[in-house]
C-alpha cells in the first residue's frame, strides 16, 4: 500500500475571495480508511433507518442523508475536538460522526432508551458533545450556530461552529439576519449550505432567484464545492477553519450534493424529479463509490480490505438495528422528566388535575462543564 497519495479536486468557485482552497491535496491511507468507514457507516445506518420506517418502527419523520455523506465526513475531517456543529433535521449522519454510536442513533429513531436522547427527541433531535442537533424548524439552527460560534469567541477558545442548512432553508430571513451579524462582529462561524437541489418538492430554481448559494452571504466570502467529493469538502473546510481562526470572520460554503431518497420517508421523491436523474447521480457521482474507486486506484487500500470493512459495518449496524428494535422504551415516568433543569414545582399537571406527575431530573448536561 501507499501511505499517502495526491488527489486533484474539481475547481472551487469563489466569492469575495482572492484565493481559495488548493485543488490538489494529499490523502493518507489512514484517512482514506477513516472517511470510507464513516461514509459507509452513515449510508448503512440510513438504509437501516429506511427499513425500520417501512416496518413502522420509526414513526413520524425520517429524513435520510444518503447521497450527502461526503459533506459531513469532509467537514468533520477538518474540525478540531473543540469545534461545534449544528444542523437541521437531516441529522443522523452528523450525530454519528460527532460521537453517537449507531445504536444511539438508531434507538433514537425507534424511540428506545439507548437513543442518544433516550428516545424522547426522535429523528430530528439528536445531541452529543459539541453537537447541538437536530432542529425541526427550517432555518432555526443557523442563528443558533452563530450563537455557538459567538460563545467560542467569547470564551476565547479558537473554536469555530459549523452551521449547516439546506438550499430551501437558504431563503429564510433569519439566515440573512445572522449573516449580517456574523460578518459585522467577525464571528467564527462556517455557514454550510448543503444544496441537494430540492427543498422538499421544490427545486432550487423554483425557490430562489439566485441559486449560487455561495454568493448569498453578500459581503461574506463564499466557496462553491463539489459536495460529492469528500476531499474537496475537506480542503474547503480546512480553508474555512483557517479563515475563521485567523480572525477574518465568517465564511460560507456551498456544497453541491444530492439526496437519493425522498424528502422524508413519506415522500416517494419522484413526483418532482425523474428516476433517471436519481439514477444518473448514483451512477456517476456517488460520494462513496467514487471515493472507493479513487483510493483503490491510488493503491491506498485494497478492495478486499474495504469489503472487510463493509462486512464489519454491516454487522455493527445490523446489531444496532436489532437492539434498537428489541429494546424497551423509557418508563412512563420520564414523560415528566427533564422539562426543566431546575424544576420549581415538583409536580407536573397531568391530563386531569388530580393526579399530578413528579418531575424528575435524569439527563446529564453536555454543555455545563
Amino acid at each position: 500500500y501507499a501511505t499517502e497519495a495526491p488527489f486533484e479536486t474539481k475547481a472551487f468557485r469563489l466569492h469575495n475571495l482572492e484565493q481559495g482552497p488548493a485543488t490538489n491535496t494529499t490523502l493518507s491511507r489512514d484517512d482514506a480508511l477513516l472517511y470510507y468507514r464513516q461514509m459507509h457507516t452513515v449510508r448503512r445506518m440510513e438504509t437501516s433507518a429506511g427499513n425500520l420506517y417501512k416496518e413502522k418502527i420509526i414513526r413520524g419523520f425520517c429524513h435520510l442523508y444518503s447521497g450527502q455523506e461526503a459533506v459531513a465526513v469532509g467537514i468533520k475531517a477538518a474540525l478540531r475536538p473543540h469545534d461545534d456543529v449544528i444542523t437541521a433535521y437531516r441529522a443522523h449522519g452528523w450525530s454519528h460522526l460527532m460521537g453517537v454510536n449507531p445504536l444511539g442513533v438508531l434507538a433514537e429513531l425507534t424511540g428506545r432508551q439507548s437513543g442518544c436522547a433516550r428516545g424522547k427527541g426522535g429523528s430530528m433531535h439528536m445531541y452529543t458533545n459539541h453537537f447541538y442537533g437536530g432542529n425541526g424548524i427550517v432555518g432555526a439552527q443557523v442563528p443558533l450556530g452563530v450563537g455557538l460560534a459567538l460563545a467560542a469567541k467569547y470564551k476565547g477558545t479558537d473554536g469555530v461552529c459549523v452551521a449547516l442548512y439546506g438550499d430551501g432553508a437558504a431563503n429564510q430571513g433569519q439566515v440573512f439576519e445572522v449573516f449580517n451579524m456574523a460578518k459585522l462582529w467577525d464571528i467564527p462561524c462556517i455557514f454550510v449550505c448543503e444544496n441537494n437541489g430540492y427543498g422538499m418538492g421544490t427545486s432550487a430554481a423554483r425557490a430562489a432567484a439566485n441559486t449560487a448559494y455561495y454568493t448569498r452571504g453578500d459581503v461574506i466570502p463564499g466557496i462553491w464545492i463539489d459536495g460529492m467529493d469528500v476531499l474537496a469538502v475537506r480542503e474547503a473546510a480546512k480553508f474555512a477553519v483557517d479563515h475563521c481562526t485567523s480572525g477574518k470572520g465568517p465564511i460560507l460554503l456551498e456544497a453541491a450534493t444530492y439526496r437519493y431518497s425522498g424528502h422524508s420517508m413519506s415522500d416517494p421523491g419522484t413526483s418532482y424529479r425523474t428516476r433517471e436523474e436519481i439514477q444518473e447521480v448514483r451512477q456517476t457521482r456517488d460520494p462513496i463509490t467514487s471515493f472507493k474507486e479513487k483510493i483503490i486506484t491510488a493503491n491506498l487500500v485494497s478492495p478486499e480490505e474495504l469489503k472487510a470493512i463493509d462486512t464489519e459495518i454491516r454487522s455493527t449496524v445490523d446489531e444496532a438495528t436489532k437492539k434498537a428494535k428489541a429494546e424497551k422504551e423509557i418508563p412512563l415516568e420520564e414523560l415528566t422528566a427533564d422539562i426543566y433543569s431546575l424544576d420549581l414545582e415538583k409536580q407536573i399537571r397531568n391530563i386531569d388535575p388530580f393526579n399530578p406527575l413528579p418531575h424528575k431530573r435524569i439527563g446529564e448536561a453536555v454543555n455545563f462543564k
Binding site: 414513526r59 427550517v138 422538499m200 414523560l335 388535575p353
Partner: protein
C-alpha cells in the same frame, strides 16, 4: 356519503375558488406537490400558477405578502405546512392581519384565512406537536376555528374564506385521512356553517363534555362507552374558539349540571381554562352540581417516545373516568 376531512377541505377550497376569482392559495408545496398533506390536491392543475402559489420556505415573508394582498382586496388562503411554522410569521398574523382593521378605524379590511394542521400528530416530536388554539383565541381581531369532522371542515372553511376578517383555521393532521358522513346539504356548493357557533354532536342529559378538534372524537368515544353504563353525555363540538359559543355550553350545563372540557393543548391559560372561567362568571355556575374539570394535554413538551406520547394526551378512558368521578358512579 362518506368523505375524508382532507377531501372536505379540498372541495371547500375548490368551490370557493370557482365562486370567487379573488380567492387564491399561497404556501409551501401547495401547488405542484399538491400540498404536503395533499389538502390542495388537483387545485394547481385546475387553477394554475396564478391562483395556487408555491413559496420558498419563508413563513414570515409569504404571510406578509398574503396579508398585503388581502389588504388590496384579494382573498388569500395562506397555508402553513403545520401551524408550528406559523410561529415564524405570527407577528404578521397578529399585528398586521389582526389589528389593522381596528387601527384603521374600520378602513382597511384584511379578509384572509390562515390554515394548516395544528396540534399533535403522531411521532413528530416536540417542535411539531404544539396546539396554538389558546394563543390565537387570546387575540381580538382574529376569528379562530378549530373544526372536527368533514362537515365542519367544509362548511367552516367556506365560511372563513367568505368572511371579511382574518380567520385562523386550525386543522388536525391525524383527521385528514378519516372519513365522516356528509349530508346532502353538506355536499352542496352553498354549504356554509356559521363561525362562532358550537354544535351539539351528541345530546345527553347527565354531563356536558366540551371539546374541539380531535378531542371531540375522544369525547364521543367516551360518551359511547358511558352510554353503555347508562350515562348520557352531551358532547359539544366547539368548532370556533373565537368567538367562543358560551351560550351553547351554558344551556347544556343548565340541563346536565356537570361539565368537563377536553383538549389536546397544554393546560395553562388554555381553552378549557377560558371555558371554566366563563362558566364561573356566568349564571351557569349555579347549575353546576360539581366543579367543572379540564382534561388537557400533559403540561410538558411532546416526547417522541410512543408510549409517552400516548400518555401525554387525553384518551376516552380519561373522559370516562372523570365523568364517573364527577357523577360519583363506579
Amino acid at each position: 356519503k362518506q368523505m375524508t376531512v382532507r377531501d372536505a377541505l379540498n372541495s371547500a377550497l375548490d368551490e370557493e375558488m370557482t365562486r370567487d376569482e379573488r380567492v387564491f392559495i399561497i404556501g409551501e408545496e401547495v401547488a405542484q406537490y399538491d400540498g404536503a398533506y395533499k389538502v390542495t390536491r388537483g387545485l394547481w392543475k385546475k387553477y394554475g400558477d396564478k391562483r395556487v402559489i408555491d413559496t420558498p420556505i419563508t413563513e414570515m415573508g409569504f404571510t406578509g405578502i398574503a396579508v398585503g394582498a388581502a389588504m388590496a382586496g384579494l382573498r388569500p388562503v395562506c397555508e402553513y405546512m403545520t401551524f408550528n411554522f406559523a410561529m415564524q410569521a405570527i407577528d404578521q398574523i397578529i399585528n398586521s392581519a389582526g389589528k389593522t382593521f381596528y387601527m384603521s378605524a374600520g378602513r382597511v379590511n384584511v379578509p384572509i384565512v390562515f390554515r394548516g394542521p395544528n396540534g399533535a400528530a403522531a411521532g413528530v416530536g416536540a417542535q411539531h406537536s404544539q396546539c396554538y388554539g389558546a394563543w390565537y383565541a387570546h387575540c381580538p381581531g382574529l376569528k379562530v376555528i378549530s373544526p372536527y369532522n368533514s362537515e365542519d371542515c367544509k362548511g367552516l372553511l367556506k365560511a372563513a374564506i367568505r368572511d371579511p376578517d382574518p380567520v385562523v383555521f386550525l386543522e388536525n393532521e391525524i383527521l385528514y385521512g378519516v372519513q365522516y358522513p356528509m349530508s346532502d346539504q353538506a355536499l352542496s356548493n352553498d354549504f356554509v356553517l356559521p363561525i362562532g357557533k358550537a354544535k351539539i354532536e351528541r345530546p345527553g342529559k347527565h354531563i356536558t363534555i366540551v371539546a374541539h378538534s380531535r378531542a371531540v372524537e375522544t369525547s364521543l368515544q367516551a360518551a359511547n362507552e358511558l352510554s353503555s353504563k347508562g350515562i348520557e353525555a352531551e358532547v359539544i363540538n366547539l368548532r370556533s374558539l373565537r368567538p367562543l359559543d358560551i351560550n351553547t355550553i351554558t344551556a347544556s350545563v343548565a340541563k346536565t349540571n356537570h361539565l368537563i372540557t377536553v383538549e389536546q393543548g397544554w393546560p395553562s391559560a388554555g381553552i378549557g381554562a377560558e371555558i371554566l372561567a366563563r362558566i364561573m362568571e356566568s349564571e351557569a355556575f349555579f347549575h353546576l352540581d360539581q366543579p367543572a374539570i379540564r382534561l388537557t394535554g400533559v403540561d410538558t413538551p411532546m416526547p417522541y417516545t410512543k408510549s409517552l406520547e400516548m400518555a401525554a394526551l387525553p384518551v376516552p378512558k380519561d373522559v370516562v373516568e372523570m365523568t364517573k368521578k364527577l357523577l360519583k358512579v363506579k
